[in-house]
């Protein structure tokens, strides 16, 4: 195959941006994606087969056939799981990655989120660290992501975020009924409610129309293409340069190296299952935290017997995501107005500053719950079946509000991805084994966050509540997976430097959620995007037209 400048593995939130930035700078790029390219016409609004409710499979990958993972649960030992089963920690496998079907909350992390260890100290046994970059380093790139991807919302109600130079490019969607119920209650509690920033058109933007406010949002592709991901923004731009070739249904096998230990290309299985080699000057891994770590670990050679970039046994460690807690409130009046996406209001008062807690998290109202998602979220003491269950569904479907949020995870070094010694995928490659958990202090934060959710709902008039704050036995990574190729200045305690360059392989980069040192108390998508712009910028600046200046 003809050599190109760059191979990007994974066409998700980060990979799409990297491909666009490199190709517009004149580099020739091959963008490999294991999944397919879906369009708005593929939005089937199937309540049982999407990316959130997956009982009949994942709508946007991976398929259940031939893509297992192993989860090491301390209660049951190793379990081999299908992609559609809970515990697999799936994101998606398609052009756009998770951004095709996400709920599209698009937050900036707070300045404190990059300095967790300095502010709080590391809880015993945790691997809590500061990032090697700050909020100020990322601020211009957050702004670029907000404008190029397209974010609506309004932070102005909250005084807790870092400084910004420009407002969001689009106003928020008009408040739905839950917003109208929750906003005055939050203010009575002394909180600072605001409109959730969303990668969703509220007005025509980027050549596409606004959200039509249907109820099938999180977990679904957008029928009217008003939800903004890499598949309908940066990837088309990359392709339009003529410098970027997108190859779908191509599964990366390993990063190939030369005898000096530099990356020389990527071996992958094409759509017909044939092994191909694409030579290149630089390799960018953007396959999401679990699969990026797996690809590095599967790239073994004489110089890298334990996987490339893994000289100090850091690849795959510090796996995190978000532990969600919250409450459901039941009301004696209708709270449901069928105006999607549903999630609309947030408070960020609790992200930092609670004595005794190492951070906190945002609290938001939940996306519209489809009826199938309500069957186990009914008032306390509702029987699990029978006429009483059916009647409770009828009584409360339109009379409940869920408030919840992502708890700032406190990472642990032994929450990690390794290669399972026995289980292989349909290409014969060793699959990811997921083991360990976040630090238990995370769950203590989660309990407080759930109590705060309950208090908000009660203030809003809930006549009864159910509090959800569990202690899962395995890490909850899923669509928020992060941390497995940590960014840092110390090569012995991290995988990449501040520019996302692997410490001991100067033409190999990991650019996605893998590099997050900590994962904030917010959905990570916009931060993944901002880092992709930030890292692409340094990459392009160091590109000298024939090779990469290390």
């Amino acid at each position: 195959m003809k050599k190109v400048n760059a191979v990007v593995v994974g066409a998700g939130a980060a990979g799409g941006i990297v491909a666009k930035e490199l190709s517009t700078a004149g580099l020739s790029v091959v963008l490999l994606e294991r999944g397919r390219w879906y369009t708005a016409n593929d939005c089937r609004k199937d309540d049982l087969r999407n990316q959130r409710t997956t009982v009949l499979g994942n709508a946007f990958g991976p398929d259940d056939e031939g893509n297992p993972r192993v989860v090491w649960d301390p209660q049951t030992g190793p379990r081999t799981l299908l992609p559609s089963e809970g515990g697999y920690q799936n994101n998606a496998a398609c052009v756009g990655g998770g951004t095709l079907s996400y709920g599209a909350m698009a937050w900036r992390y707070m300045p404190q989120d990059f300095r967790m260890r300095s502010i709080y100290g590391a809880p015993a046994g945790s691997s809590l660290e500061d990032w090697p970059i700050t909020y100020d380093d990322l601020e211009p790139w957050y702004e670029k992501a907000e404008y190029e991807i397209g974010i609506s919302g309004d932070y102005s109600g909250s005084p807790f975020f870092g400084p910004r130079k420009r407002p969001l490019p689009m106003p928020p969607l008009a408040p739905n009924r839950e917003f109208q119920i929750l906003e005055p209650a939050a203010k009575r509690l002394g909180l600072h409610p605001f409109h959730i920033p969303m990668a969703r058109n509220s007005v025509p933007y980027n050549g596409r129309g606004p959200c039509m406010r249907c109820r099938w949002c999180v977990g679904f592709a957008c029928e009217v293409d008003a939800k903004n991901g890499s598949q309908n923004t940066v990837i088309p731009t990359a392709l339009a340069t003529g410098n970027c070739e997108l190859r779908t249904e191509c599964m990366a096998k390993e990063i190939l190296t030369d005898d000096r230990g530099r990356a020389r290309g990527v071996a992958y299985f094409d759509a017909d299952g044939r092994l191909q080699e694409q030579p290149c000057d630089i390799v960018i891994v953007s396959a999401c935290a679990i699969e990026s770590a797996r690809l590095l670990l599967n790239s073994k050679s004489r110089l890298f017997p334990n996987g490339i970039g893994n000289r100090h046994d850091q690849v795959g460690r510090h796996l995190q995501g978000h532990h969600y807690t919250g409450a459901v409130g039941f009301f004696d009046f209708d709270t449901y107005d069928d105006v999607g996406p549903g999630a609309s209001i947030a408070v960020a008062d609790y992200n930092h500053g609670t004595p005794g807690l190492c951070g906190g998290g945002a609290l938001c109202n939940e996306f519209i719950r489809l009826p199938i998602q309500m069957i186990d979220r009914l008032p306390v003491n509702t029987p699990r079946w029978g006429l009483a269950h059916k009647k409770a569904m009828r009584s409360f479907y339109k009379r409940n509000i869920a408030v919840m949020g992502p708890t700032q995870p406190i990472p642990m070094a032994d929450a990690r991805i390794t290669l399972d010694p026995a289980v292989r995928d349909k290409w014969g490659m060793q699959v990811a084994r997921i083991s360990g958990n976040v630090h238990p202090h995370t769950f203590e934060i989660g309990i407080v966050q759930a109590q705060r959710s309950e208090a908000w709902l009660k203030e809003a008039g809930a006549v009864s509540t159910v509090v959800n704050a569990g202690r899962p036995t395995t890490v909850s990574a899923g669509q928020h997976q992060a941390g497995t190729c940590r960014m840092g200045n110390d090569p012995q305690g991290s995988v990449v430097n501040r520019n996302c360059q692997v410490h001991d392989v100067d033409n190999l980069f990991v650019i996605d959620g893998s590099v997050h040192v900590t994962n904030g108390g917010f959905n990570p998508a916009l931060t993944i995007m901002a880092i992709a712009y930030f890292a692409s910028d340094s990459l392009v600046r160091n590109w000298n037209a024939t090779g990469f200046r290390s």
Binding site: D47, L56, D338, W385, G386, K390
Partner: protein, 161 residues
């Protein structure tokens, strides 16, 4: 193997051949499903097509649960014979409710599977054979989608996965 048997005369079922269940299994499963979602002003599970949903998926996405259904349904009938001297489908509604409570207690893995599948069939998208005419959605008060006729996959008629 159960294979495809005729389902003539099955309670609330008029769909023709089953893909996986045999007639006896279908009758027992109907009895269980209709306790999980009984009829009132709105249809029961089987009346809303839940058996069609489960049967279809046992031939498709839920092939891995076939043994659980074979074993679970036959042990439910065995329990019914032991306690009442007849098939579960032949019991009175209160007896069936007691039987389902007993299955929940003594064979919870099977019960949880059937409960999940029943509620999926009843409250999920109609295209998979359950929730006939979107009856459960109307029951909970969820209106039609705001823009009808735009989607190429009408949820009442579209092909199953």
């Amino acid at each position: 193997m159960g294979g495809a048997a005729l389902a003539v005369g099955c309670t609330g079922h008029n769909q023709g051949d089953w893909d996986f269940l045999n007639d006896e299994q279908a009758r027992t499963l109907t009895a269980i499903c209709d306790q999980i979602v009984p009829a009132d002003d709105f249809p029961s599970a089987s009346q809303a097509g839940v058996l069609t949903y489960i049967d279809r998926q046992l031939a498709r996405h839920y092939r891995r649960h076939r043994n659980a259904y074979r074993d679970g349904l036959s042990s439910a009938d065995a329990m019914s014979w032991q306690r009442h001297g007849r098939d579960m489908a032949a019991l009175s509604a209160p007896q069936q409710a007691q039987m389902v409570a007993a299955i929940e207690k003594e064979n919870s893995a099977f019960f949880n599977l059937v409960r999940s599948h029943t509620l999926e069939g009843y409250y999920g998208a109609p295209r998979h054979g359950g929730n006939r005419d979107a009856v459960s959605w109307r029951m909970v008060g969820m209106g039609e989608p705001p823009v009808r006729g735009r989607a190429q996959y009408d949820e009442r008629k579209g092909a199953a996965s």
